[in-house]
């Protein structure tokens, strides 16, 4: 392995990116911080209120409920989409035109604008004109505008429909990078399909699965457009995510102080989470890091020379 050269002139190459992101991220965030510390009544009439808005946000029952609801949503999203994504990825054809076709078909939900996803599901689940809604009503009462439970389930199913393909594609990429020799070695050992998954595939998928969990957690934690179009956050506030609530406070009520404090706390929570994930994700790349590869070594030893092509 060749090592990277230390060269601080590289900062010149990075400068445009730093400038652009500073313009689009830091300046607005400073404005947010500014809002959160002052009560702005008019152009010349502003009062420094310190952390009052933060206390208000931290004790507001609506925001607390939305936070718990959103955590619960993310947990359900991960529990359903990660196993389902792995399942679908393992079924996907690996070669020939079928593999290309499968990739395109699987990826389609990902390229549909988010509000069109909402529109599609709104049409699909309506009990008068939607295929899904009409079919569901044959078996049980189903109405997303009246029943909070139905609305919640619809949001979960819609999100699963929208984002499981992302998990499937990531896992598919991970599976394709596993050398055939590993499978041959497992076949010689006459390992069961479960054992192959547990000891050959899962260790190799660790990295892509971490990326998948990170992306799915983040994106479900800032879910806005799809539930907004389908349920509008209702009935009541049963499907109001943190982003929907924040947008209502910021743009709807124009309550900039509360919105500013809310934004900063929201942002901070996400940053802490990404930091933990980023640390876990890059832990293998540090000098002196040890990799746990015990089960693989066992297969290696039996497969003999076949393992050399890795």
């Amino acid at each position: 392995m060749d090592t990277k050269r230390k060269n601080n002139k590289a900062w010149f190459l990075v400068a445009p990116v730093v400038f652009v992101v500073a313009f689009t991220a830091i300046v607005p965030l400073m404005a947010v911080a500014n809002y959160s510390l002052q009560d702005i009544q008019g152009f010349d009439n502003r009062l420094f209120v310190g952390l009052d808005f933060f206390k208000l946000v931290a004790t507001d029952p609506n925001i607390q409920n939305a936070f718990m609801r959103n955590l619960w949503l993310s947990a359900q999203v991960l529990l359903i989409q990660i196993p389902l994504g792995i399942f679908i990825a393992r079924l996907m054809p690996r070669s020939g035109w079928k593999a290309s076709a499968a990739l395109v078909v699987v990826a389609i939900p990902l390229i549909i604008p988010w509000n069109v996803i909402g529109t599609t599901w709104q049409i699909f689940t309506r009990s008068d004109i939607g295929l899904g809604g009409v079919l569901a009503n044959l078996f049980f009462e189903y109405n997303t505008t009246a029943s909070p439970f139905d609305a919640w389930v619809t949001v979960i199913i819609m999100d699963t429909w929208h984002w499981t393909p992302l998990v499937a594609l990531l896992v598919y990429a991970g599976l394709r990078s596993i050398p055939q020799a590993y499978y041959q070695a497992a076949a010689i050992d006459s390992a069961s399909p479960m054992a192959i998954f547990r000891f050959v595939e899962l260790p190799k998928l660790r990295r892509v699965l971490l990326i998948a969990i990170l992306l799915r957690f983040m994106d479900s934690f800032m879910l806005y457009t799809e539930p907004f179009v389908v349920t509008g956050g209702g009935p009541g506030d049963s499907t109001t995510t943190l982003s929907i609530l924040l947008t209502t406070i910021a743009v709807g009520q124009f309550d900039v102080g509360v919105a500013g404090a809310f934004s900063l706390m929201y942002f901070l929570f996400i940053q802490i989470f990404s930091f933990i994930f980023f640390t876990v994700l890059t832990i293998d790349e540090r000098p002196g890091a040890t990799k746990v590869t015990k089960p693989k070594k066992k297969l290696f030893a039996k497969a003999g020379g076949a393992a050399n092509d890795n």
Partner: protein, 282 residues
């Protein structure tokens, strides 16, 4: 990789017509396709037909939705707005991300790890946080309601993504290439533009696809910093829903129209999609 002797995940040869796993996969995909198929079927019926009878297979076909879409300036205009700022964003993001990704893949420099993490956190930032300041900031800079303004705002999450994906692809090119070029007397700029960039063109293609896609699907920011003259197609759709009943036929037709560009682009990069989704780092 030879296809004749290839083994599947289960370790057995699969060549028979009745391949259970393959059938199961396409069955799942058929169920997956239902909502979109339903949208397409709605787009080819007119409103009276949609509301009067529930039919799994449409009994009469009508192009009213599409006719309305293509004859109304505000629909076509907003569609073109979306295409414009999406393309602008793709080009602008690539231009700034290419040198940065090169720096991250080739050199260590003071604060590089922190900078990389900081860039990534912007990809993870909730768009809702930026609404209010963007709204005021872009108005005060006269960027409000312009395609350029939206393209700039979308760089918030697209530039970090581009740097991340490109860095992965660039790290796959051996560093010896750079050293040989330097020995041969290439100046950095010439080497970068005439040798290095052509070498990673597939990576650039994939990155462009992701930039296009994430800018195309975003609604919240684009809607907030536009009013009329740069209104995205997505906002046009949500604003029409509330007006005197819902024009299901037109709405479905517009929905189908927004899916088409993505399908075309996805076909070109199908073999790299999965790699790009793992951000070039599988």
């Amino acid at each position: 990789m030879t296809t004749k002797t290839e083994l599947t995940a289960a370790g057995k040869k699969r060549s028979s017509f009745f391949d259970f796993r393959s059938w199961l996969f396409w069955l799942i995909m058929a169920v997956w396709a239902l909502p979109v198929v339903w949208l397409v079927s709605m787009s080819f019926r007119d409103n009276a037909d949609i509301l009067s009878e529930f039919a799994v297979i449409p009994t009469s076909i009508s192009l009213n939705g599409y006719m309305e879409f293509f004859s109304d300036r505000s629909w076509i205009g907003s569609y073109m707005n979306s295409v414009t700022y999406t393309l602008l964003n793709t080009v602008m993001s690539l231009v700034v991300a290419l040198p940065a990704a090169y720096a991250f893949s080739r050199y260590t420099f003071s604060g590089d790890k922190h900078l990389f993490f900081w860039l990534l956190t912007n990809r993870m930032a909730p768009a809702a946080v930026f609404l209010l300041p963007f709204f005021q900031f872009y108005q005060s800079l006269d960027l409000f309601d312009t395609p350029f303004g939206v393209a700039l705002a979308h760089m918030l999450f697209n530039v970090p993504l581009a740097v991340w994906i490109l860095e992965g692809f660039m790290s796959g090119v051996p560093k010896q290439l750079d050293e040989i070029a330097e020995i041969d007397g290439y100046k950095f700029g010439r080497f970068f533009l005439t040798i290095f960039i052509p070498m990673i063109r597939s990576g650039i293609g994939v990155t462009a696809f992701f930039l296009f896609m994430f800018s195309w699907v975003e609604l919240l920011i684009a809607r907030t910093i536009t009013a009329t003259s740069a209104k995205p197609i997505a906002a046009q759709m949500t604003r029409t829903i509330s007006a005197s009943g819902i024009d299901w036929s037109l709405l479905s037709a517009a929905g189908v129209m927004t899916i088409i560009p993505g399908v075309i682009v996805i076909w070109f990069v199908r073999n790299y999609i999965a790699k790009g989704f793992a951000l070039g780092r599988v």
